[in-house]
Symmetry: C2
Subunit: 357 residues, 2 copies
């Protein structure tokens, strides 16, 4: 993630990942989830923090999830079920369950189907937030498959030339295993910026970049400006105009319409819709050769001569891998206000609080 979104050094408190996972698990148990589901939820969230994807980690999301459980817009221990199934596909009604949990189930069903017929695709509707979808894509990569996830959720992004929001930030994630190199892991919104990043920018006092947002009449903000206080005073622009618009619609088609659900532009509630796919590498080629080719490609990218003004060339997943090594060893840097909130909630719930690294 860009440096502008990181917690300033002077406000950081480092928390060991295991301690954070224990406390987050306890919070989800207090919300009514089983221990297994609560652990899955904590793993999804804390892994995002380990990867440096703070926009989808505990700081932005934990308080929101508690609010959603308490207001009843998401349900603990959901009665999720497969409503249609073929050897390579399944469509799941999530019964308002959080996809930070059910995403693991959905991707594993896709992986199991891909073991049988080469490819597995699972759509999920009537569901809650997914967390960082790259995390679910990685589940496939860890089992020698290419994982792909798309989400259609929310209504904050303008269509090209439009003044009314018609799309969510609709991210696309893809993960593929390598041999010695850090795995390939791409996960990004099809809007110019993710809404979670806007909240994070507001918290750390960062400006919006020209081309990120539009005013209420649809005219783009083309100069650096503070993040508007009121979330309803702006909309997001699609990435690169018609291209991000088309890719955002791809996510609507694959995640919402294919699942038999209505897109947010027609039925706007908190329901999220998801597309999970696992492509079994062994169904196409030799897995060892694939990983060697991945290594050679990723090394070639890393060793590319940088353009003037840049130190090095990255590839998607490399910074996240480096962050994970640092944070596993040294703890996860949370904002001191977030740590204080965790301390308060742990006391309120009567569960174990956070250790300090």
């Amino acid at each position: 993630m860009l440096e502008r979104f990181k917690v300033p050094k002077e406000d950081q408190v480092r928390i060991p990942a295991d301690s954070l996972k224990r406390t987050v698990t306890a919070f989800f148990e207090r919300m009514g989830e089983t221990t297994e589901f609560a652990q899955t939820a904590a793993n999804t969230l804390v892994t995002s923090d380990l990867r440096g994807v703070e926009s989808h980690g505990v700081s932005n999301m934990m308080a929101k999830y508690i609010e959603y459980y308490q207001e009843g817009s998401i349900k603990a221990r959901p009665d999720w079920r497969i409503v249609r199934e073929t050897p390579g596909t399944a469509n799941i009604d999530a019964d308002s369950g959080l996809v930070i949990i059910l995403g693991q189930k959905a991707m594993q069903i896709a992986v199991d189907k891909a073991k049988e017929v080469g490819v597995g695709v699972v759509t999920v509707f009537n569901s809650g937030h997914s967390g960082a979808i790259g995390h679910h894509a990685m589940l496939a990569a860890e089992q020698d498959m290419v994982g792909m996830v798309m989400t259609a959720a929310g209504l904050r992004t303008l269509p090209t030339f439009g003044a009314e929001p018609r799309l969510g930030t609709n991210p696309i994630a893809i993960a593929a295993p390598a041999g010695r190199e850090a795995p390939f892991l791409y996960d990004a919104a099809t809007s110019s910026v993710a809404m979670n990043k806007m909240w994070l920018a507001k918290r750390v006092g960062a400006d919006v970049v020209p081309g990120w947002i539009a005013r209420e009449d649809g005219s783009p903000v083309m100069e650096p400006a503070p993040v508007p206080e009121d979330d309803n005073a702006f909309n997001l622009l699609p990435l690169g105009s018609h291209k991000g618009y088309g890719l955002g619609l791809m996510a609507e088609v694959m995640a919402a319409l294919l699942a038999g659900a209505l897109p947010s532009m027609i039925n706007h509630d908190r329901e999220n819709k998801h597309f999970f796919a696992a492509y079994n590498i062994a169904a196409f080629t030799e897995v060892d050769q694939f990983k060697e080719n991945m290594d050679e490609m990723l090394r070639t990218l890393r060793e590319t001569k940088p353009a003037p003004g840049h130190d090095r060339v990255l590839y998607p997943g490399l910074l996240e891998h480096e962050d994970m090594q640092d944070r596993t060893a040294n703890g996860i840097p949370l904002h001191k206000d977030v740590v204080a909130w965790f301390d308060d909630m742990a006391a309120e719930f009567g569960v174990e609080g956070l250790e300090r690294s």
Copy 2:
């Protein structure tokens, strides 16, 4: 396609689609293809022109294909074969065949598999140019499936922060059927601009847009400028920096590495690699309901209030549908120089030349 790329009115000659197809079919027969293959090739190319996708129509591509056949970099009547197969997947060695032809075979195999197991994925390596990949995606949409195609080819796009090209323009296409509305059809490069569009811009005298290309040292050209005469004096920038870079790498992974092939950054020849997927709507939900939902979504997009300075909101595939209606009725507007070239070649090959509308 943007107006800047269209042939200026005063240089247009309108040619009936049927006449253009007959002449193009005859050219491909002269290159050694069977009548069936030649007709498929002509259909792929001329349908692009009918859709207004001139960058991938006869004007840009016909002369190149003839050159490729004559120099032997693509092969007529290729001995293409499936090298690995499961119920949901196949990997095809194209034996240097053109994918404007074999793309139809590959997508039909994907569709047939999706009829059996809900989803079908076919990779193609060792192959020639695909034409507009949206055309192949539409083949699935016409059979009540969502079609997705990605291509990895060429070496013209810089990675984010990089000074050396590492990716092709690597397009992604998706098509989905609607009921009464024009179908959803997205097809765009993951670079800021497609190379074919650069050639077209050069021909019609259009400037490059800021952010499209970089100089040889990797520094971006951030002001309007003529298209450089020498194709080697510039590289393309990825769409929206790290997002287009990541999506371009997705195409490398899905089309090249999954097929067991090396990416262009390691083995740079004229070989193109392709990913074809068909997702059977009936495996997930009711087809009629899906089409009704598509209609409602596409109509909602069309009827969105425009931003200041814009007349209307489009969706991907709408302009193409309107162009197809116009061009089917009134002929395809080719540049007079292109028509002259066709006349010369038809005389040289001793085949039927172009009629005028």
